[in-house]
């Protein structure tokens, strides 16, 4: 998952959690606040009642009978004030609570403030009440308001954050694109990163630094290869030429001659091993170009012609079915020749006399080309298969010649051309699959 997507997800999730918590808590908060507000209003009314009684007496509140008490409702009947004489032996305590009250024969919830009062030496109880229905109306209104405000806040900040994240992370795309463009030791000059985020600047600087040091390492390796070639190949040349000169001598004893030939053979092995190692290094070091558009079918035909005698001597039959156009648009023809030479030479060398080599190729559904080289040779031991492309690992019976670098070179050249290569082996033979885009 991309960093951008993760940040967006995080932002959205955290907002969702906050909104959920607030929406759950909102009714309780609103209820508490509304009740507190109602209670305060009732206390003020009670104070007004006390003031009026102190000024005008209790008459206004007790018009009918002194003992019965009376409730005054407002027009909508959701508030009342009641004053009644109290029994001095059983005076009720001052209370603020939600209580049920009888109103027109029905029990209705009221918020009730009850207080004691003494007027002209007589005790009274005064009650101020507000119907809970009116209080709950206020809850609803407050809830809706708070909900809308919350959603608006969450929505707008989310939008803002997503835009900012998008913008902040743009340099990452830039850096990744730059890194993707790097395909070899000579990295293309990347345009400077334009950002005010110091972390990205730091990252960009670090990557540039790294590319420079990779380039330096490749340069060193290039110098090393050149030096190694010279320093190793020159003494080998001397030896090889000396052996040849010694073989010219007319008076050489037969035994010495035989030993010289054996030495020449050993030196020859050393030479080809060294040459192949240098070739692998040069290809890996990017010292080869890919200037040719190469038809692989032509290269294979050329290689088979080259191997003609060998195939004939081992009595091997070769079948070739290459459908479509197996063309590599940017390739090095001479390296590809080596690649197919080594593969087909192996297919011949590690085969049964009278066996078969099958070449099958076809464009595949994904727009690439797949090529299979199959031989009917003995199976490569299972534990060796994963290592066949490593240097100095040789599958099959160890023949006297060959240096175990053939398949390592194949892998190097294949990588250089972006060709995927894999090998499987079983009772029915060994198969090498090549695939390129």
């Amino acid at each position: 998952m991309k960093l951008r997507q993760k940040l967006m997800l995080l932002s959205t999730l955290s907002k969702a959690v906050i909104a959920a918590v607030l929406l759950l808590a909102l009714p309780t908060v609103v209820q508490t606040l509304a009740l507190r507000h109602t209670d305060a209003a009732m206390r003020r009314e009670l104070d007004q009642v006390r003031e009026r009684i102190a000024a005008d007496g209790v008459r206004d509140f007790l018009p009918v009978a002194l003992d019965s008490g009376h409730s005054y409702y407002d027009l909508l009947r959701d508030e009342y004030i009641e004053l009644r004489p109290a029994d001095p032996r059983r005076l009720p305590t001052d209370t603020l609570a939600t209580l049920a009250r009888l109103q027109d024969g029905e029990l209705v919830d009221f918020r009730v403030l009850r207080a004691r009062l003494t007027y002209a030496g007589r005790p009274y109880v005064v009650e101020v009440g507000k119907s809970m229905a009116s209080v709950e109306d206020v809850y609803g209104l407050l809830n809706t308001l708070a909900g809308v405000a919350l959603l608006f806040a969450v929505g707008s900040t989310l939008l803002l954050e997503l835009t900012v994240i998008q913008r902040l992370l743009r340099p990452v795309d830039h850096i990744v694109q730059g890194l993707r463009a790097v395909r070899g030791p000579q990295a293309p000059a990347l345009p400077p990163l334009r950002t005010t985020t110091s972390d990205f600047q730091y990252l960009d600087d670090a990557i540039r630094q790294m590319l420079r040091s990779i380039e330096a390492v490749f340069e060193q390796e290039r110098a090393f290869i050149a030096n190694a070639s010279h320093e190793l190949l020159t003494p080998i040349s001397i030896l090889q030429n000396r052996f040849e000169n010694m073989l010219q001598a007319e008076t050489l004893p037969e035994e010495a001659e035989t030993q010289l030939v054996a030495s020449q053979r050993t030196l020859h092995r050393l030479t080809t091993t060294l040459r192949t190692l240098l070739l692998i290094s040069r290809v890996e070091n990017g010292q080869y170009a890919r200037p040719d558009q190469v038809n692989v079918a032509d290269v294979i035909a050329e290689v088979l012609e080259e191997l003609e005698d060998r195939l004939h001597a081992l009595d091997l039959r070769v079948s070739r079915h290459l459908d479509g156009a197996p063309v590599l648009p940017a390739a090095n023809r001479s390296l590809l020749f080596t690649l197919f030479y080594n593969l087909l030479n192996n297919a011949a060398k590690y085969n049964e006399p009278g066996g078969r080599i099958d070449l099958r190729g076809a464009p595949d559904a994904a727009g690439g080309y797949s090529l299979i080289i199959h031989n009917t040779g003995p199976a490569i031991p299972l534990e060796q298969v994963p290592h066949v492309f490593e240097r100095f690992r040789r599958a099959g019976a160890g023949l006297e010649e060959g240096h175990g670098l053939g398949l390592a070179l194949v892998r190097t050249i294949a990588d250089f051309h972006g060709i995927g290569v894999e090998l499987t082996s079983g009772a029915e033979g060994t198969t090498v699959r090549l695939r390129w885009e």
Binding site: I238, L247, T272, N342
Partner: protein, 235 residues
Amino acid sequence: MNVLIIEDDRALARELGLYLHNDGFLCDFARTGAEAAEKLFVNEYDFVLLDLGLPDQDGLTLLANARRERNQQASILILSARGTLDDRIRGLDLGADDYLPKPYSLLELTSRMKAITRRKHGAPHDVLEIGPFALHVGERIVRHTPTGHEVVFTRKEFDLLHYLLLHRRRVLTRVQLAEHIWGGSGGEGLEPDSNFIDVHVKNLRKKLAAHDPTEWVETVRGVGYRVRATAPDAP
């Protein structure tokens, strides 16, 4: 033939000089670019063997200069340990006649020198003879002279016979033959297989034997092969 050997390694120059001397060449030596430039300015050579890795100068620069001066007719062979494709192409572009990566076989070197001479001085009907057979280099065919029949060889067999005939007085080892046969295949890093030389020689002999009973390619035990100069006396 005069040869200038431009090589900074003394031992290598010595071996090279020794072989060429035995082959009838007159050798002159230069160990630095400056020395070589001076000799090229003063003397005329048929061949210049040029090592690219000189201590004081890049061999390719020397090559470009040499081509402009007195030795315009000289055949120049580059012998280099650098061996990159680039060097090879640039060397040939600058007018070198051939290029041999180090280490090279001296046999191969003299073959190339002979080939250059033939190319330059024109031998269109170059024919090499082996007993009753004639190998036509240009047409790449071998004929049995008494009957006029063509003996059909594969490419490798022809190359092998040609190489043996070029060095007909010498015994050629399997390694020397393998290097010639597979060294010039156009690819690099090919796994050599000198055992296979025996198979080629066997086929070669069989094809010649169909026309003539003499064993023209003889085995020199423990060393390699050689073509017979004359038919052995009848018993």
